[in-house]
Symmetry: C2
Subunit: 509 residues, 2 copies
Amino acid sequence: MLIPLERRGARPVFRQIVDYLRRAIEAGRLAPGARLQPIRLLARELGVNRETVADAYRELEALGLTESHVGRGTFVTAARATLAPRAAVAAGDAGAVALAERPFTPLFSRAADAVAALPVLDFASDARAVRLDRVVPDAQLYPVDEFRKALARVLARGGRRVLDYGDPHGDESLRRVLVERLTAYGIEAHHEEIVVTGGSTQALAITARLFCDPGDAVAVESPTYPGAHAALLAAGLRAAPLPMTDAGLDLDALDALLARGGARLVYTMPTFHNPTGIATGLEHRRRLLEIAVKHGVPVLEDDFEKDLRVRGRAAPPLKALDRAGNVVYVGTFSKALFPGARVGWIVGARRTVDAATALKRTFDLTTSPVLQAALAQLCTSGVYDRHLRRVAKELERRLGAAFTALEERLPSGSTFTRPEGGFAVWVTLPQPLDTMALFPAAKQAGVVYTPGQLFHVDGRRSSSLRLSVAQCQPDEIARGIRVLGEVARAALPARASRRGGRAVASVHV
Amino acid sequence: MLIPLERRGARPVFRQIVDYLRRAIEAGRLAPGARLQPIRLLARELGVNRETVADAYRELEALGLTESHVGRGTFVTAARATLAPRAAVAAGDAGAVALAERPFTPLFSRAADAVAALPVLDFASDARAVRLDRVVPDAQLYPVDEFRKALARVLARGGRRVLDYGDPHGDESLRRVLVERLTAYGIEAHHEEIVVTGGSTQALAITARLFCDPGDAVAVESPTYPGAHAALLAAGLRAAPLPMTDAGLDLDALDALLARGGARLVYTMPTFHNPTGIATGLEHRRRLLEIAVKHGVPVLEDDFEKDLRVRGRAAPPLKALDRAGNVVYVGTFSKALFPGARVGWIVGARRTVDAATALKRTFDLTTSPVLQAALAQLCTSGVYDRHLRRVAKELERRLGAAFTALEERLPSGSTFTRPEGGFAVWVTLPQPLDTMALFPAAKQAGVVYTPGQLFHVDGRRSSSLRLSVAQCQPDEIARGIRVLGEVARAALPARASRRGGRAVASVHV
């Protein structure tokens, strides 16, 4: 125990020791039952007289904070210790550079302030509410036992290797698995054209930093993934929003933006776009790529839900169509498997991947090799593919329940998307509803969704919202959507909610 | 298998399928023995005639790339597939946006270029060489079995919870363990004043971004940890180097720098400084903190080897002396336990930690909760403290062997530090030796070290070098230092190596 002591001060050393330990016990940092260091050891460590420590221990006991047991030592009493509020903790002063009249007021960077200023919504609700907000796979489906076995296996076989830093490009066993999986997606990549990252969020942050200097703009879809926007702000970058159509990113708008040098990078989610669920067709992909090639601008393809298709035929990823080397492809295990491993990847031209790897080192040196090796093991043993089949079946039921309920329960004049996979459905309620304004009432009534406004980098009002079927059973989804319909109807102006003419429309995306 | 097809092109679809699969097999992306998709499934997935796929499969077999087994399917032949060089992979063109006349030449950001331009040294050597370069704990000491058990336990108890994203501040079980450990260091922190990070490197990167805008300078020790320099460059920041004395950072130089507004943040390693091993005393720490408080500048205290003390009495961390809230304290499990979990932490004032957590989310959302929970388990079960005792005993032997060998084997006029813990010893050879120039000869002769030049942000020539005792047994350390002495003597000018007057000097740090 290293108690900071002020030896030249007015307060006796004995009193300083008592105060430090008293604060630790009262704040719960020393838990009930914890044994204090033997007097002899603490005296030596602090360079003080044993009698000084003994005095302090006697005082603590007199205060009822500790109990001595002859021959066993001094223990924190079992009385309920509470976590003290910060004010009490700050009262400490022993040996410190006090200058209490000059408390440090942190002045954060512009980027940190911009990130902190992003809107935050309190999604937490009571247990009854149907949570249609989280795009996180259902924990009930996680292959926990298989993952435990995979971890045990890689630790038994190569424990020392996988507990070292590992290769900054990523564990080679995982990169070879990814090469095989990418081949099945139509992407021809060498394992040295891959770098493993801390989830796809880190992949986005690295790629943005790789191509953009502070102040540069990145073209993004509007609506888009708010986490990408936050990553851009943290890097001192701006997002240049481009409209989405039912067929995907508005390509004429993209062409015009790039023609005037308005973006250094294009960030896009061509498959199961977040939040709309739109998957673009082959022709859209070809044209997007042609525009990027024409203007010499790199494209960041975020394929986060690639493995969550439940029907229809997939168009090849942009990366599969890319021969010039413009596309940086990003994937993750977080949506189809579980997010807790924090493993994603970047695929790109060798030179791009090498530069990305150098940046990756400045983010966190490497991604945990033990988790990477265990995920590779899940793939080679067939667990991952079996898991995907199970998830697809379940997801089809959930999306189906959502589509049915949306058709039946939304106020007339609403529209929604019918994605062929992924977790998200994009619902647009009739004007003049504002889904951010509606949020508290919906939460109160028992359904939680994500208001559309959070997906627009310009923070515009929105009558749309994202529903995620990830976490709920079909019957819960149906119940949540019924509640949503009721709340929306109640909020509509009387004439609008009475008008029954227009039906609910859906669009296959 | 999603093969990108060009349906309007001149090349038959059958040929495009053959080419894609041939490249995949020749490049090893489809491994020998791998089963191709059944004809029916692939035809459906690609939206082509079954006969087209059957033709393609027949062609592949004719090329000797696959074998068919009636009733079982088509398999890649067992002939040795080799990983094709990139040129062969790039030859693919099926359905792609070709524009081969316009290959994308990535233009990286200034920050990415600056990071890529950092000097890189090839430390890899043949197996005989003594590796005194890596500051990475000896894998032979890793508690692999205990970690496997801890992982199994947290997955059995809370598998679903620890495989979700988890709290961006970090797993609460780990933060509570850290609160207890910090109390023993003299640091009074609440668990909400901690954010868990992807190792200390991520902690440095976050903290730099938190306080500094692009173009700002951070005061660093010279020499300093090169990874910190890289993280600053990646964030678009500059390093302002300050001299080190045997007692630590030159505080007059720091005071002068801060007085003229020359740094927005001070980065320091007061305990077992990398690369010199210097641990500063209480008075130095107090004064450093007074200077920072006086100028209102935050201090980033990197305490990466805190738990590796083998003798002497520790001065309290700066954070333990900090009442104004200027200090952001960073720790890690990478040096005292193992680096493969990639877990570190930031401790700071609540407001600072909240802002750091918002930035952390843009780096990678969260650090793997399963690893955090397993590390907490290692701590609460006593494994970590037992491990530290074992490591300290071993480290004492290794440092002792190094000190003895350095006294006996270095050329006269050399000096070295005698740290009270940590892995690194800082050796200064007589002028005019340049340890970067000497490196190839030393590696060739059988000893690998880290040249001093790599620790100076201005890249200046250096006659110093860092020796790490982390990875080697005492007898190897002695052998490596003997070789180092021989190589140094051979490189000295004749008159200097003959001159036997001045002895080798060491300084207790």
